[in-house]
């Protein structure tokens, strides 16, 4: 809860007078107000710079150094002030946190110095306000990464840990080629062979002069077929061996097979094997030739060797929607202009625009400002449309391209930051929820503390750890409970009670059990028993009838301790008795309809409960 709100607690408590006339139960007594001492100024001397503030301001956060008795260690008798030998510039922000409840992070300060000061004064960095939190986290992460990088580069120069298996060594060699000489050699050899293979594919098709008894030019591939075949075989063998080795060494084979690089590897070597299998059949040779085109995919194997290619691939992937939109708008423009062109040129004779799809080619060539000139409009209307087409081509194509280029870097950084922010948001929501539940848990804790405390006779109700604010706040929440005659419970209890309500809708199994549930005894003090039964599994009896929470109308008051077969089951039941006697509240008119619990084995022993229920329970209707 923000410190500033603490100042409004007196107002909230005063406003609680509005509940009094409608309250259905008397209010609990307020906690003793021992804040009698005057609110004085405190002098803080931080390395010579003097700060002053009210004592109450510092005590808003009792779990920090300045707010707790820990500051007494720094008290300097001679000058009657608290002296801290720390950085005064950063201390300013810390003191402002006490004053305003918000912790800010100064951009000009070093992140580690700031962290040290926070740690010294006992303030957790998670409470930095939203305005500065992102900056803080960014700087912190950069710092961590830098430290991590330094450590990593140190690690890589270390010796390989001796207990790595051969498989792990191999995988490490494949992933980081500069770890060992063997890996480096392998890396360069494969790189060389990829280059050789690609060059061979290219040179194969170059015309190599004529054969002695032929006229036609013949490609080198056909002239030196055997040589090229040997070269191809060698390359493919190397690639196959490499692929198999990687497959063997991979820590997770399925993941490796799914990865892009492995697919590229397979596509690169498949054509060769398919070619081996297929005979020189005329029918399928056409398809076979197409298959050889896939050999060019070997060039993609270079991306293992080049980080830049990988980054390009990744950014293309992340800009896919941008590219898709560009394509879509282009298609729209092409169709529009092609249609108009076709109808404009329909009239002219010997027009090349024979159909709209034929006009597509013209539109694309014109819009990309290529202008081959194989198709030109002849009519005046066609020429006008053609000029509009080329002008708009500049707009449609040339403009989005730089935007996409800048989108690349922006989207790349943005996606990283979006993930960061999502993770931060999750933790922030978690913090807020924790704080909320902390608030309610604190209250429930306070109530259970009250119960356990009142057992030990005369024990002080408020334990030292609770600051005054929490006590008063808890008392306020208690008053609200009394007004409405309902109690705050935590999530799990609420869930269980919901379940039991739905369970207990079944018809009664046995009448003897029906009144057993009424022994729930829902006086307000025994409700506290019930609370105890949830938190501390003492009273099995009330616990056993947990599942019969129903519409509650009258509150039963237990007048004497229940003598019931169950009491033997729970020796500790007697402790709850003093509570009953202490607070004989007459509570509001809420009638309990005793609903039977679901049959449970332990319920069988409650034969005597009907007698007790009639005898001990007094129905009281208040007001």
């Amino acid at each position: 809860m923000a410190a500033g709100v603490a100042a409004w607690l007196p107002f909230a408590r005063a406003a609680a007078i509005g509940w009094m006339p409608v309250a259905s139960a008397p209010m609990p007594t307020p906690p003793p107000d021992n804040r009698r001492k005057q609110d004085g100024l405190i002098l803080l001397n931080v390395s010579g710079q003097k700060f002053q503030t009210w004592r109450n301001t510092l005590e808003r956060y009792p779990d920090t150094l300045l707010g707790s008795t820990e500051r007494e260690f720094f008290f300097h008798e001679e000058t009657n002030e608290y002296f801290f030998d720390r950085d005064p510039d950063i201390f300013r922000y810390i003191l402002n946190f006490y004053r305003t409840g918000k912790l800010h992070y100064p951009r000009q300060e070093c992140i580690s110095a700031y962290d040290e000061e926070l740690a010294f004064f006992g303030i957790i960095p998670e409470i930095i306000g939203d305005c500065c939190y992102e900056e803080y986290k960014d700087r912190r992460r950069e710092n961590q990464e830098r430290i991590q990088d330094d450590e990593d580069s140190e690690n890589q120069n270390d010796m390989v840990p001796p207990d790595m298996t051969f498989r792990e060594t191999m995988w490490r060699a494949f992933e980081n080629p500069h770890t060992s000489t063997m890996a480096l050699v392998f890396y360069y050899v494969t790189g060389f062979f990829i280059a050789v293979s690609v060059m061979a594919n290219v040179v194969e098709t170059v015309p190599c002069g004529t054969l002695p008894n032929r006229v036609k030019q013949v490609s080198c591939g056909e002239r030196y077929a055997l040589a090229f075949f040997c070269l191809d075989t060698a390359c493919v063998m190397i690639f196959t061996v490499e692929y198999l080795l990687r497959l063997m060494a991979a820590p997770s084979r399925w993941n490796f097979i799914k990865s892009v690089m492995s697919v590229i590897d397979v596509v690169a070597i498949m054509p060769y094997y398919i070619g081996l299998v297929m005979t020189d059949n005329e029918d399928v040779s056409g398809a076979f030739v197409t298959l050889r085109v896939f050999r060019v995919f070997r060039i993609f194997k270079f991306s293992r060797h080049s980080a830049g290619l990988r980054i390009l691939g990744y950014t293309l992937k992340s800009c896919a929607s941008e590219l898709g939109f560009l394509l879509f708008s282009l298609t729209m423009a092409i169709i529009i202009f092609a249609t108009v062109m076709f109808y404009a040129e329909k009239g002219s004779s010997a027009s090349k625009f024979t159909s709209i799809p034929a006009a597509f080619w013209y539109t694309i060539v014109t819009m990309t400002t290529l202008g081959y000139g194989d198709m030109v409009p002849k009519t005046i209307v066609g020429k006008i449309v053609g000029s509009v087409c080329s002008l708009s081509g500049v707009l449609v194509i040339a403009l989005p391209v730089p935007v996409i280029v800048s989108n690349f870097s922006r989207i790349y950084h943005q996606s990283q930051r979006a993930d960061k922010r999502r993770a931060q948001k999750k933790t922030k929501l978690g913090r807020i929820a924790a704080r909320k539940s902390g608030g309610t848990n604190a209250y429930l804790q306070y109530k259970s503390n009250e119960v356990t405390a009142s057992k030990a006779a005369g024990q002080a109700l408020v334990c030292k750890a609770n600051p005054m604010f929490d006590t008063h706040h808890n008392h306020l929440l208690h008053c609200l409970e009394k007004t409405t005659n309902h109690e705050f419970v935590d999530e799990q209890t609420f869930e269980t009670s919901l379940l039991e309500v739905s369970m207990a809708k079944h018809p009664p199994h046995s009448p003897s059990l029906s009144s057993g549930s009424s022994s729930q005894g829902l006086s307000c003090c025994s409700r506290r028993n019930k609370r105890k039964s949830f938190n501390v599994p003492n009273s099995n009896m009330t616990g056993g009838h947990r599942n019969s929470i129903q519409e509650l109308s009258t509150i039963h008051i237990r007048e004497r301790p229940i003598t019931n077969s169950r009491s033997s089951l729970n020796a500790k039941f007697e402790e709850t008795v003093p509570l009953n006697c202490k607070q004989p509240y007459i509570t509001a008119a809420i009638i309990t309809l005793p609903m039977p619990p679901v049959t449970r084995p332990e319920d069988d022993g409650s034969a005597s409960s009907p007698d007790y229920s009639q005898a001990n329970i007094v129905r009281v209707s208040a007001l």
Partner: protein, 225 residues
């Protein structure tokens, strides 16, 4: 017919303006509303002596109160949203905004939509230092939403629902939908002596003064400040 023509002319003028701005590239008109935001609301309260005379707090208490007030609302006034925000922080489990709305109306005696420090401290003076009669008066004022001198069942139901909303969902026993209504029935049975369906201020004060619990609980928060 003439209004139609006028409207037509106005639209055409606007369109011409739009075309002009389109051509010259100044399509985004500078909004005049931005300037208004600069003049935020500032409020300075009456002097300490006047407040001392108006309320039953002494100087020290007024100083403490004002410091807390100004800390949370540096502009010197609380508007309804801030008020709801602050009040909701005390009741994390439920939804305190409806009750905060009624409370705000009870504090905002001059009905200007904001609670200044004077309103705040005068309300507190009644609640913490007033006689039981005055406190009951204040409570009646809170329940009487339309300030007509009568509390009807509907008004009471609204207030009751607001109070139960503050409890939230996770309560024991489970909150039923008609629990507030039942509570209102009980209240009216007790308070409405002549059974005319409304509670007047005299019936209210009478009945409360005869109730031990209520009288005792009124004194509960006297030493809050």
């Amino acid at each position: 017919m003439s209004s139609c023509r006028k409207r037509c002319k106005r639209e055409m003028f606007k369109f011409a303006q739009y075309l002009y701005r389109l051509v010259t590239g100044t399509l985004h008109a500078d909004s005049v509303e931005d300037e208004l935001e600069l003049s935020a609301v500032r409020h300075r309260p009456e002097g300490l002596e006047q407040l001392e005379a108006l309320t039953r707090f002494n100087r020290k208490e007024l100083q403490i109160l004002y410091r807390g007030f100004k800390n949370e609302c540096p502009s010197g006034v609380v508007n309804e949203d801030t008020f709801k925000d602050i009040y909701s922080q005390f009741f994390p489990q439920g939804d305190a905004s409806t009750y905060a709305h009624f409370l705000f109306n009870a504090f905002d005696t001059d009905k200007d939509g904001s609670v200044s420090f004077e309103d705040f401290v005068m309300g507190l003076s009644i609640l913490l230092r007033g006689s039981v009669q005055e406190k009951l008066n204040w409570a009646f004022n809170l329940y009487d939403i339309n300030k007509d001198g009568y509390i009807t069942k509907e008004e009471m139901l609204d207030i009751m629902k607001a109070i139960y909303d503050m409890m939230g969902k996770c309560t024991y026993p489970l909150l039923k939908d008609d629990t507030p209504r039942q509570h209102v029935e009980i209240f009216f049975q007790k308070m409405d002596k002549n059974k005319d369906g409304v509670v007047t201020i005299d019936e209210f004060i009478d009945c409360c003064q005869n109730d031990e619990n209520i009288m005792r609980s009124m004194q509960l928060f006297d030493n809050v400040i």
